[in-house]
């Protein structure tokens, strides 16, 4: 790299650099030192500990994930509890004469609604357990995937087979 440079070139540059640097070198200034220390006191009262926060981030995240997975695995899902259905009207109101012909030709609205409500409840009763049973299965699988690499005892050794 220094093939085409005579040896005194670097010496000359070094000498010039040092000589010019020493020519007007600053001296210690108490005023500037006090200014710097005041800035330190104002800007930062205590040094920030950046590294330790990063160190604790990973274990805390893993512990939180394990906690959530365990909670999900040990609390099998139950069918959703719907708020109680509003009471359906049970009887028609009004004068029987006004709606008498309609009542004879078609079933009353309240009866139709009640019938529909019963059918819907029956369908939900059939579909709900199957749906949530699938969620249980998925949750147990997820918990097993999380816990097995950590070599922790699995909360459910055998996932339920449907």
């Amino acid at each position: 790299m220094n093939g085409e440079r005579p040896p005194f070139v670097q010496d000359r540059i070094a000498r010039a650099a040092r000589r010019d640097a020493l020519r007007d070198a600053p001296v210690f200034c108490d005023t500037l030192h006090a200014r710097v220390m005041d800035a330190l006191r104002v800007a930062v009262f205590r040094p920030r500990v950046v590294g330790s926060a990063r160190i604790w981030m990973l274990p805390v995240s893993i512990a939180a994930a394990v906690l959530v997975a365990t909670a999900v695995a040990f609390n099998p899902g139950e069918p959703t509890r719907r708020p109680p259905r509003a009471a359906l009207p049970t009887a028609t109101t009004g004068s029987p004469g006004a709606s008498g012909q309609f009542a004879l030709s078609a079933p009353p609205v309240s009866a139709a609604l009640a019938s529909w409500g019963r059918r819907e409840s029956a369908m939900e009763a059939d579909l709900g357990p199957a749906h949530w049973a699938g969620l249980d299965h998925d949750a147990r699988l997820a918990a097993r995937y999380i816990l097995e690499p950590l070599s922790l005892p699995s909360p459910s050794p055998k996932p339920s087979v449907r």
């Binding site: 640097a21 600053p26 030192h33 710097v36 330190l40 930062v44 950046v50």
Partner: protein, 203 residues
């Protein structure tokens, strides 16, 4: 006070990491002059140099937990000073506006009205270095020749490889040589050598 005066910079830094404000104050006292020296040459204005010096120590105190003893404290503090100076320089350039063009004017034969200033600046090495060198080159030359910092430590300051530092120093010397050759400090043989180099490189 007396016992702290005999401990090394690295030991003081470790005490400062433990919360000893007195140790950090002693580090400020030790490095105030070298850093101000570097920054006053690196930046144009003495006021800017003092501002950057203050910012450097504030940053160092904020990040003292990141310091590792495998590096010398001087290397670490000069790294912060260099980066703070670069940020300050960029901020000043953006404030000045883009109309002025490049931060570092092209080194070319000056117009006649600037001849006197040019002659004067030739006598001052660091004035010239500030004008013709990049930020990294200036810092590398300062740390190498004035602070006498080993190349390995300079790699830490500039955040580059050992080869890159050697290349930076080589290019800096190559940029400085033609200008220094015109001054009285150089013998006629060296001026002849620089002339030959200029002819070979087509300048």
């Amino acid at each position: 006070m007396t016992d702290l005066a005999s401990v090394t910079d690295e030991q003081l830094a470790r005490r400062a990491q433990g919360g000893c404000a007195r140790s950090f104050e002693l580090l400020v006292r030790r490095f105030q002059v070298p850093l101000l020296h570097f920054l006053s040459k690196r930046l144009r204005s003495p006021a800017d140099a003092e501002d950057v010096l203050q910012e450097t120590f504030v940053r160092a105190f904020q990040q003292i937990a990141r310091y590792r003893e495998r590096w010398r404290f001087s290397t670490w503090i000069f790294t912060i000073a260099h980066r703070t100076a670069v940020s300050h320089h960029r901020k000043r350039m953006s404030e000045a506006g883009r109309a002025r063009g490049s931060a570092r004017p092209e080194v070319s034969p000056p117009p006649p009205d600037r001849r006197m200033a040019e002659e004067e600046s030739r006598l001052r090495f660091w004035e010239l270095a500030r004008r013709v060198l990049t930020d990294e080159q200036f810092t590398a030359v300062w740390l190498y020749y004035v602070e006498e910092m080993p190349t390995r430590q300079i790699t830490r300051v500039l955040n580059c490889s050992w080869v890159s530092v050697k290349t930076t120093l080589y290019r800096a010397r190559r940029r400085l040589e033609p200008h220094l050759a015109r001054s009285e400090d150089y013998p006629a043989t060296f001026q002849l050598h620089c002339g030959l180099v200029a002819v070979r490189s087509g300048r």
